[in-house]
Amino acid sequence: MTLAEYRKDRPETDIHAGPETPREAGSHAHPGPLEYVRIGLVLAVITIFEVALYYMGLSHDLLVVFLILLSAIKFSLVVLWFMHLRFDNRLFSQLFVAGFLLAATLFLVALSTLGGKLV
């Protein structure tokens, strides 16, 4: 079966998709409002925890590790759930991850070669 034939004959699995809302190739149904509110609550709790950690008087290195870890979790939750990368076609993920990795590489190379300090 060719790719074009697959796209034409692919069974529709999204029960929420109406006849006027065509689906993207390789995408899955998005979560419902309750799921979004749950993620929002998790994000709120993490933010409160971050600020609490800041005032807890942890050792500097430990604080930095925790803060960056929590920030990465928040970043991932928003990108995967709210921006739907977890449910959409993988090409979107690949595009965004490529841009993000390029930016992270540029960031680390600039800091290491020009004598910058992250912490």
Binding site: R23, E24, L91, L95, F96, L118
Partner: protein
């Protein structure tokens, strides 16, 4: 033209507008990555005579003189929280229109715009405070890199708020239906990106200190 119940008829099977938005967001990663790197590189650089020039982001002593830091973490935490919650209202707006709920779309779109404006008000207040404390674009390299980074982020939020308000006005005229949910999704992608940039800025610029 798209066929009901099937993939979009483009060479990728994906909507080109959404693909373009993701490409744009990928390029924005480089833009903000460069600005954050510039801030981390230059925030502590001394002036031409080798002595650090106040004001500083945190409490600091220079040549026996104690300077009070500018950053107000509790205030910025509330701002960060407001922007984070605006992402929740934005995604609820999308969920509403995908269900065909126009009223829900209007409520959540407007809530998102209000939260965005609240964040911008906080930023304006912070910038004004810093200016009164002697920090400007040209006072020292901390000021230059800080205002350029957070100013560009604020400009992005402002553009986002304008997009949200124009979409809200369009919904009031009844011109957005379930079939237009991609417009809300694209606005949402942009808005969530602005939010994740602030997640990084809040941690690396405000909370993590040398």
């Amino acid at each position: 033209m798209a066929v009901a119940g099937h993939s979009l008829e483009t060479s990728t099977g994906l909507d080109n507008r959404k693909l373009l938005m993701w490409l744009f967001l990928a390029s924005e990663c480089l833009f903000f990555g460069s600005l954050i790197a510039a801030y981390l590189l230059y925030r502590d650089r001394p002036g031409p005579n080798g002595v650090p020039i106040p004001p500083f982001p945190q409490d600091r002593a220079v040549n026996g003189v104690q300077y009070k830091g500018l950053f107000d973490i509790p205030f910025t935490s509330v701002s960060a929280f407001v922007l984070l919650m605006s992402s929740v209202t934005m995604v609820l707006a999308l969920a509403s229109i995908q269900r065909g709920d126009r009223r829900g779309l209007q409520i959540w779109l407007f809530s998102t715009a209000v939260l965005g404006m609240l964040f911008l008000s906080g930023q304006a207040y912070e910038f004004t405070n810093f200016h009164h404390e002697g920090l400007s674009l040209s006072s020292n390299l901390f000021g230059t890199t800080f205002f350029v980074l957070t100013g560009f982020h604020g400009a992005h939020v402002t553009i986002g708020v304008l997009i949200l308000l124009s979409l809200f006005a369009t919904t009031l005229r009844g011109k957005i239906g379930k079939e237009d949910s991609l417009k809300i999704e694209l606005a949402g992608l942009y808005w969530h990106f602005v939010d994740i940039v602030w997640i990084v800025i809040f941690t690396l610029i405000y909370l993590v200190q040398p």
